[in-house]
């Protein structure tokens, strides 16, 4: 499933306040996600999935609360919202020991970078380098 991110989420100031006008991955405003809408058959999974802008907003909050690594993770996650489930699982598998050659990882990184996922691409690039040195590539 690939969904095009549209409008963003607005997280209140420090991140502690309740969401206002958040938007689902589908672009549907969260306030429209009602039981009535389910009854009308209007709600699908993309309406219940988090929007990358909400993840970015949470990354800002995590940074402010002393965890830049969590922020980096949430930003990688924001990139991954555009990928389908199968592709996400395939990339995970490619990063496991002995699954990929260094060249395949480099190629994967280039593909991710080319599709607007630079942070995920950087993670894969780093994996290619260290895993090759440690004998963890195919």
């Amino acid at each position: 499933m690939t969904a095009e991110p549209r409008r963003g989420a607005a997280i209140g100031g420090s991140g502690g306040s309740p969401p206002r006008d958040s938007t689902a991955l589908s672009g549907r405003p969260v306030r429209e996600l009602t039981l009535e809408a389910v009854r009308r058959g209007e709600i699908g999974l993309p309406d219940l999935r988090i929007h990358p802008d909400s993840l970015e907003a949470q990354a800002v909050v995590a940074e402010r609360h002393g965890n830049p690594q969590l922020a980096a993770n949430l930003r990688r996650a924001a990139e991954l919202t555009v990928l389908g489930d199968d592709e996400v699982l395939a990339i995970y598998d490619a990063l496991r020991p002995g699954r990929s050659t260094p060249a395949q990882l480099t190629e994967l990184a280039a593909s991710l970078a080319g599709r607007g996922l630079p942070r995920c691409a950087a993670l894969v690039t780093e994996a290619a380098e260290v895993c090759e040195r440690r004998g963890l590539t195919r």
Binding site: A9, V38, L55, L74, R76, T81, V124
Partner: protein, 767 residues
């Protein structure tokens, strides 16, 4: 083992250590039979990694930074970094504070962990610049009480919480739904399920989601299975968190676990991309069990895991041994190590889900000893899986605390006045929630064409204390339902629609409320839970502000009342009602003022002020008329006559007995308190110097009361009877009865009227 000789040798024994086959003395044989001796205890062996806090193989802490790049980490130069070193070096450390943190002496660092004057934020800042070996050295210095104080200060979330395991041997959906509702009612804010049969996983997730939602909004649900399936269930909205993403402290074991730091980092992001909360799992013992500890201490290896957890961007860590808890517990200082692991996560500014989820001992005392310090200190989750079901139904293996222990845990919360996340639930509410959960689950399964369950099955699931109470069930139906959920692409939207269409609109609303609340992502922050108003409590929204006595988390009055009001608590009003229920109309009615007797065979039984009024049943369970009947019969057997006289001037049994003796023609009296304590007195003795006394009222039998009557008669006749012995019990008699005694004495005291004349009571109906 060969049979041991029964007889000791004639010759003086050689030292026992040199003759292990020799039969030990009875005291040792007795000690050997205690349950703690079923546990395994290991000789410390750093070569195997069987060492808790510090091993000769642990590296000295070191950190070299050149041009903003780590070139040496804990004694390893950059070209030799293994994959774990490399990931931590690149992502896990705050190089801006590294110099300060690494040069701070270990004891000074440890002092700051404990001192209430050093705020949590300062510890977080410093720890960011400390290497794994540095934090391990610092934590190894803390004594148990210091670990507790540090935990109270350093956990991320102010409000402690708790997580439940909900599973059963059959993967029975109706029982899972009922048990999930029960867990949510008890206060667990995360419910973790798993399967004995992998294919059942989607069904378990749906059943637990429905059940928890019946009892409470906002309970997070996890189905712990193989990673791809777990992620798939989360992607469909059927689960809302994950925690079994394992990290290990050595590259070899990490690779054996079929992952690299980068695959785990990616998986962490994958969960977040689907809006799922996630924590990683690590803990002592895993590397030892896989013969891959590389001569390192458990604490050092866990320090690497936690540093990696922070580096990959996980919000939290489940550690404290987990499946390897009993490995840590087998070595000296092992429990200190387990608690230090939790603290390590807190120092790295991560959520701590603090273990206690594997039964680490056959001994109730040892397993309590392992868990209690963490419960008292308070953690983000004091258990990463309290077995809310019975031990035999726990498909993770028994937890350290299970359904068998829920009342114990509630009592411990109350004893210490602390919040362990649980609360008492009235029996009627448990029954109603279990029924609604099982019925709602059945309705959804039927509506979606997954399975059809009978009314009888629903009734069995509602009443069941565990899956053995269900009898034979159709386990193939479960597999079929799970298959249909998975292959049919069923999502949380389908579950919501089915609930709505089958009459469970309010449950459907709760799940939609939760789905909406999750979309802001607030619950992806560190240590996040939803409270029952769907507010997110996390490091961000509910930060721990402990700074010494009088600060930090204190249960709100309503919450404290929940903690205090366990269902077993009784007051005077409860006891008065119980006593009134035993009242016998027409018995023990006053017949007039008591007068001195002259017959040498006249024995007076003096009773306490509330007898025949508010007090009718003694602690042994016998009614007061039954007790009096036995006493009178005993007197008669020996040829004496008894009278029953109530003394309202005092509650003191010695004085009542003595006053009775002084009224009696024989000079012998029996004193009886309503609670059942009884004695024989003689008119010329001091009040406290009686002839015979039954002090342990709960254990006195009808036969013993009759014997007391007979002995009183023998005294009256001038004989010297063999005194009756107090029955002995090794049970906690005082714990069981003291609260009742206090209430009974309050009822007695209320009838005291100083100087009131003694009154004779009717003996009618007593024999």
């Amino acid at each position: 083992m060969a049979a041991l000789p029964d007889q000791l040798p004639d010759q003086p024994a050689e030292p026992l250590v040199e003759q292990p086959a020799e039969r030990p003395v009875g005291r040792i044989r007795f000690m050997d039979r205690q349950r703690v001796n079923l546990d395994g205890f290991a000789v410390e062996d750093p070569g195997l990694g069987l060492v808790a806090l510090r091993s000769p193989g642990d590296p000295a802490p070191s950190l070299v930074i050149q041009d903003g790049r780590v070139t040496e980490l804990d004694g390893v130069a950059e070209p030799d970094f293994d994959s774990i070193d490399a990931f931590i070096a690149r992502h896990g450390l705050d190089l801006a504070v590294a110099g300060e943190a690494m040069s701070l002496p270990d004891t000074a660092f440890a002092h700051r962990l404990v001192s209430p004057d050093v705020p949590r934020a300062e510890i977080i800042r410093l720890s960011g610049g400390a290497t794994p070996a540095k934090l391990a050295r610092v934590l190894a210095l803390l004594r148990p009480a210091e670990l507790g104080l540090a935990m109270t200060k350093l956990r991320g979330r102010r409000t402690p919480s708790n997580q439940a395991h909900v599973t059963n041997r059959l993967d029975d959906p109706l029982l899972l739904a009922a048990d999930s509702a029960t867990a949510a009612a008890f206060g667990f804010r995360e419910v973790e399920t798993t399967v004995p049969v992998l294919a059942d996983a989607p069904s378990n997730a749906v059943a637990c989601l429905i059940g928890a939602s019946v009892a409470s909004p906002g309970v997070l649900i996890q189905c712990s299975v193989e990673e791809a399936l777990e992620l798939e269930l989360g992607m469909r909205g059927l689960t809302s968190y994950a925690e079994t993403i394992s990290l290990y402290g050595t590259e070899q074991v990490f690779t054996d676990g079929d992952d690299t730091p980068w695959s785990k980092a990616f998986l962490t992001s994958a969960y977040a991309s689907r809006g799922m909360k996630m924590r990683v799992s690590s803990g002592a013992g895993a590397e030892v069990l896989m013969a891959g500890a590389e001569e390192k201490s458990m604490l050092y290896l866990e320090a690497r895991c936690v540093a990696l957890a922070r580096a990959i961007g996980a919000q939290g860590v489940q550690n404290g041994g987990i499946d390897g808890a009993s490995v840590a517990a087998s070595v000296p200082g092992g429990l200190r190590e387990l608690m230090a692991e939790n603290l390590m996560a807190m120092m790295r500014n991560l959520e701590s889900c603090s273990g206690n989820d594997a039964l680490m001992s056959e001994s109730d005392m040892r397993r309590t000893s392992r868990t209690l310090p963490i419960v008292l200190a308070g953690s983000d989750f004091v258990f990463s899986g309290f077995g809310s079901i019975q031990r035999y139904d726990n498909m993770f293996g028994p937890s350290n605390f299970n359904a068998e222990d829920i009342d114990d845990f509630l009592a411990m919360q109350r004893d210490w006045g602390i919040d362990g996340g649980l609360r008492t639930v009235p029996a009627g509410r448990i029954a109603a929630l279990r029924r609604e959960a099982a019925q709602a689950c059945r309705a959804v399964y039927r509506h979606l064409g997954l399975a059809d369950f009978t009314d009888e099955h629903v009734e069995l699931a509602v009443d069941a204390a565990g899956s053995k109470d269900l009898g034979e069930t159709d386990t193939l139906a479960v597999v079929g339902a799970a298959h249909a959920i998975r292959e049919g692409g069923l999502t949380v939207v389908d579950v919501v629609a089915a609930l709505d269409e089958t009459g469970y609109e309010h449950v459907a609303e709760k799940i939609m409320d939760m789905a909406r609340a999750r979309l802001s992502g607030d619950y992806l922050q560190t240590a996040a839970i939803f409270d029952e108003s769907l507010r997110v409590l996390s490091l961000v929204t509910d930060p721990n502000d402990y700074a010494g006595p009088g600060t930090g988390y204190e249960p709100a009055p309503a919450r404290q009342a929940e903690i205090d009001a366990i269902r077993q608590a009784r007051g005077v009003a409860d006891l008065r009602a119980e006593q009134a229920a035993s009242a016998a109309a027409g018995l023990l009615t006053p017949t007039g003022p008591a007068t001195p007797g002259h017959d040498p065979r006249d024995v007076v039984i003096g009773v306490s002020p509330a007898v025949g009024r508010d007090v009718w049943r003694s602690l042994s369970g016998l009614t007061v008329p039954e007790v009096l009947g036995e006493l009178l019969a005993g007197l008669e057997e020996e040829g004496c006559t008894g009278r029953v006289v109530r003394f309202s001037g005092t509650v003191d049994l010695g004085r009542i007995g003595l006053a009775a003796a002084r009224l009696a023609g024989s000079g012998i009296g029996i004193g009886l308190q309503g609670k059942g304590t009884a004695l024989i007195h003689r008119r010329d003795l001091a009040p406290l110097a009686n002839l015979e006394l039954y002090s342990v009222a709960p254990s006195v039998t009808p036969e013993l009361y009759r014997l007391l009557g007979a002995n009183a008669a023998r005294h009256a006749k001038g004989g010297t009877p063999d005194p009756a012995r107090n029955p002995y019990s090794d049970e906690a008699i005082e714990a069981r009865y003291h609260t009742t005694v206090i209430a009974l004495m309050a009822l007695e005291r209320a009838w005291v009227e100083p100087g009131a004349p003694a009154e004779e009571l009717s003996r009618k109906g007593l024999q």
